[in-house]
Symmetry: C2
Subunit: 209 residues, 2 copies
């Protein structure tokens, strides 16, 4: 394909049809199918249909693949909390924004998030990612602390527990969400927000019927 | 130690202080720390402080260890749904009973449940356990279906989604629960039930403030 002078170079390619991002998708599936430690370069190369040296042409090491993959999902989650809507306005509206956006990340990057959730901390790269994940958790916890002060969080659930339950709910989406399934991310986000704010009790039903 | 004639035999022991159940606790930790596939018998024997042949004296194979461990947590979850309280009375009260009991299982068997949640289905033993887990999920879904008919489940969240959210919440406890931590299982169960039934909104606050 002709390219204009000065245009940016094409993405590094593995074989026709694979750019680095697409290779990473496949690699993350291998990590998830066998566990990061058991996912050998042989298994990765075989799934990609490439030689091991061809794979090393694109990634320096298995650890480099892991870091790239984790950075993708962590970067997306951090971007959610960096957005103006996560930092301005009432804590209630900020909560809704970050939950909705985090559900979208969980759906769109379900393989990457699965990888992040299953980290065991056996390497420096894993420990760094787990630290970034904890920092994201802390940002949601701070919004819930604001919500408590604002009067929009119930007083009998601790903000830290509210954060754990909320991320527990969002993270569990990766267990069953499939892009080809019946529910779109937006519908899942609506249901998560209904559940989070009002629980499963029908409107108008008293707390202890 | 002297034992009365006719008394049941002592539990099979690995070395002083270890019975098979205690060995299994250690083995499950190794599975969780490295992933089942990457957890070699070398790693397991080393963590137990035993020779490989001593380990094989107690368990026929790595797969046998996995099956015993998974049977323990699946058996506990199945017992929850077999209890009379899970099968009699209103769907609302049955829901509360099973959620409370499942939270207790999640806390008491957090290592075993972690193992179950991370299964990848790469062996017959894993596939059988995943099938049993799906059957447990289906039993909670049926209680939510009864709850919908009874009028104690909100109509804008599908019973299947209510089940996924509820188990998502309960299963996420294994991520952060530690027996030595500040919260007792009973307190966590109380908070889960508050969250599930009423969400995070303070009592008396309207749905869309």
């Amino acid at each position: 394909m002709d390219r204009a002078p000065g245009a940016s170079p094409p993405p590094r390619r593995g074989r026709p049809g694979y750019d680095q991002q697409q290779m990473l998708e496949v690699i993350v599936s291998v990590f998830n199918d066998h566990g990061y430690e058991a996912a050998t370069l042989e298994l990765i190369a075989k799934r990609l249909g490439l030689s091991k040296s061809a794979v090393y042409h694109h990634f320096d090491s298995k650890s480099a693949m892991l870091e790239l993959a984790l950075d993708r999902v962590l970067g997306a989650l951090e971007a959610v909390f960096d957005a103006p809507e996560a930092n301005e306005g009432s804590a209630l509206l900020r909560t809704r924004f970050v939950v909705r956006a985090a559900v979208r990340v969980a759906c769109e990057q379900h393989r990457y998030l699965t990888l992040l959730l299953r980290l065991r901390g056996n390497s420096e790269a894993e420990l760094r990612a787990m630290e970034r994940r904890r920092a994201v958790d802390a940002r949601l916890r701070r919004i819930f602390e604001d919500s408590l002060v604002e009067g929009t969080l119930r007083v009998d659930i601790d903000p830290g527990l509210a954060e754990r339950f909320t991320f527990g709910l969002i993270n569990s989406i990766v267990e069953w969400y499939r892009p080809e399934g019946g529910l779109r991310p937006e519908q899942i986000a609506d249901a998560v927000i209904l559940f989070m704010r009002g629980g499963l009790r029908p409107e108008g039903m008293s707390v202890r019927p």
